[in-house]
């Protein structure tokens, strides 16, 4: 039974569940919690994966379950939705700030709509703020990141790529 629990309270609990690969970033700020439905019988959380093969998705589901269970919510359902597809446009301002503080450059601008070719984006170095950076690879340490290098502070860094 969910008692007098409100949707906002569930959201507050979910705010304390973090992305396992970027452990400063709440899954709410990441934009993967799409909705929460609270009824007398149960709580249903709707989530969407960042990338189809993202191995963190299963961990996030488990973390949501254990967090909400620890808050006394026993009747819980997690539903995955694919459409609309996740986009970095859903990252909150708070999320972007957290990423930068963690040393990952947040996505710049809005998601490209199916642009196949073009110059790689100019990205600010999260360490020194310089724009004198270079894309080394479109594929970084996880599916959601690209690998960049800063010519000014001579440090490599991850860029949370725009999709």
């Amino acid at each position: 039974m969910t008692g007098t629990l409100t949707r906002e309270e569930v959201y507050r609990h979910l705010y304390e569940v973090f992305d396992p690969e970027v452990p400063v970033l709440s899954i709410v700020d990441l934009g993967i919690v799409r909705d929460v439905a609270v009824s007398d019988q149960m709580v249903e959380v709707f989530i969407t994966p960042t990338y189809t093969g993202c191995p963190a998705t299963k961990v996030i589901e488990d973390d949501i379950t254990s967090k909400l269970k620890s808050e006394g919510i026993t009747e819980l359902k997690i539903t995955t939705v694919l459409s609309p597809a996740w986009t970095t446009d859903w990252l909150t301002e708070e999320g972007r700030t957290r990423l930068r503080e963690f040393g990952i450059a947040p996505p710049e601008g809005m998601a490209d709509k199916n642009v196949l070719f073009g110059e790689p984006k100019k990205v600010h170095c999260p360490h020194c703020g310089s724009l004198n950076t270079l894309m080394k690879s479109q594929f970084g340490s996880t599916a959601c990141k690209a690998l960049y290098f800063c010519n000014d502070c001579v440090e490599p860094f991850d860029y949370f790529k725009c999709i």
Binding site: P49, Y51, T52, G53, C54, P55, V81, L82, S83, P84, A85, W86, T87, N114, V115, L116, F117, K136, S137, Q138, F139, G140, S141, A143, L147, I163
Partner: protein
């Protein structure tokens, strides 16, 4: 459900092609020519296996015989697989892997653009999601085709050879059978003639930039849509399916 069998076949084709080429790419893990490419190929592989999971899960639901994504991936033999033959071709050298991926990802790119408008909500959502990932795959492989083709004499020769070898497997991507026709007619599937046109335009464009010759061979091998495969698929499955077959129900 209307046309259940045909929809099941259609889903298997989408899911199996992604699964098999995803597995092929994963064979590069730890063997990439440079660290960045090792990471890139395994990232692409992960995307493709993720896409396969969505489609095989759905195929199981459409079939209605309680088969899970794992049952379909691990407990079918090669004649029950519906992946395109190009996806099962061995990796060869790095240039051949890039060429295979370029041909296939470009096909997916134009196919999924149409499927985002599918009347089947799951296929449309799958296409919308996958298209974002595939766009990166096309961009990455195109850049390599240009760099290798317009590179040294050695790299040009090898990547041209790869194109020539793989060419006869490209035809069946666009050869519609009665399942494709029914799916197109019911607003679920894509028009493969249109995909072919768009695919050929992009391939011509990239080959021109890469100073490569588009192969002219007209013989195209077909049959995977009915379960006919090259000898390579059996070996691939033997490796991929070993664990769940030797230790049924194994989990971690």
């Amino acid at each position: 459900m209307e046309n259940r069998d045909q929809l099941f076949q259609y889903c298997l084709r989408l899911g199996d092609s992604s699964l098999v080429i995803g597995h092929r790419l994963s064979e590069w893990c730890g063997h990439g020519p440079i660290l960045e490419e090792d990471i890139a190929m395994t990232n692409i592989s992960l995307d493709l296996i993720g896409q396969a999971r969505i489609m095989l899960t759905y195929a199981g639901q459409v079939e209605g015989k309680n088969r899970s994504e794992d049952d379909l991936a691990y407990l079918r033999d090669s004649m029950d697989f519906r992946n395109l033959m190009i996806t099962e071709q061995p990796n060869g050298d790095f240039g051949k892997t890039m060429m295979r991926q370029f041909f296939f990802s470009t096909y997916c790119y134009f196919l999924y653009q149409q499927l985002t408008k599918s009347k089947d909500a799951t296929i449309a959502a799958f296409a919308e999601k996958s298209l974002k990932e595939v766009t990166y795959h096309v961009r990455h492989t195109s850049e390599w085709i240009i760099r290798l083709g317009d590179g040294t004499e050695e790299s040009h020769e090898r990547v041209q050879e790869a194109a020539d070898e793989l060419w006869m497997y490209t035809g069946e991507m666009f050869t519609a059978d009665e399942v494709d026709e029914l799916m197109l007619k019911s607003g679920i599937g894509a028009d493969l003639d249109k995909v072919k046109q768009e695919w050929a335009n992009l391939v011509n464009d990239i080959f021109k930039k890469a100073t490569l010759k588009v192969p002219s061979g007209s013989y195209m091998i077909t049959g995977s849509k009915k379960g006919k495969h090259t000898e390579h698929l059996g070996f691939l499955l033997a490796e991929m399916q070993f664990l769940p077959r030797a230790y049924p129900g194994a989990s971690w």
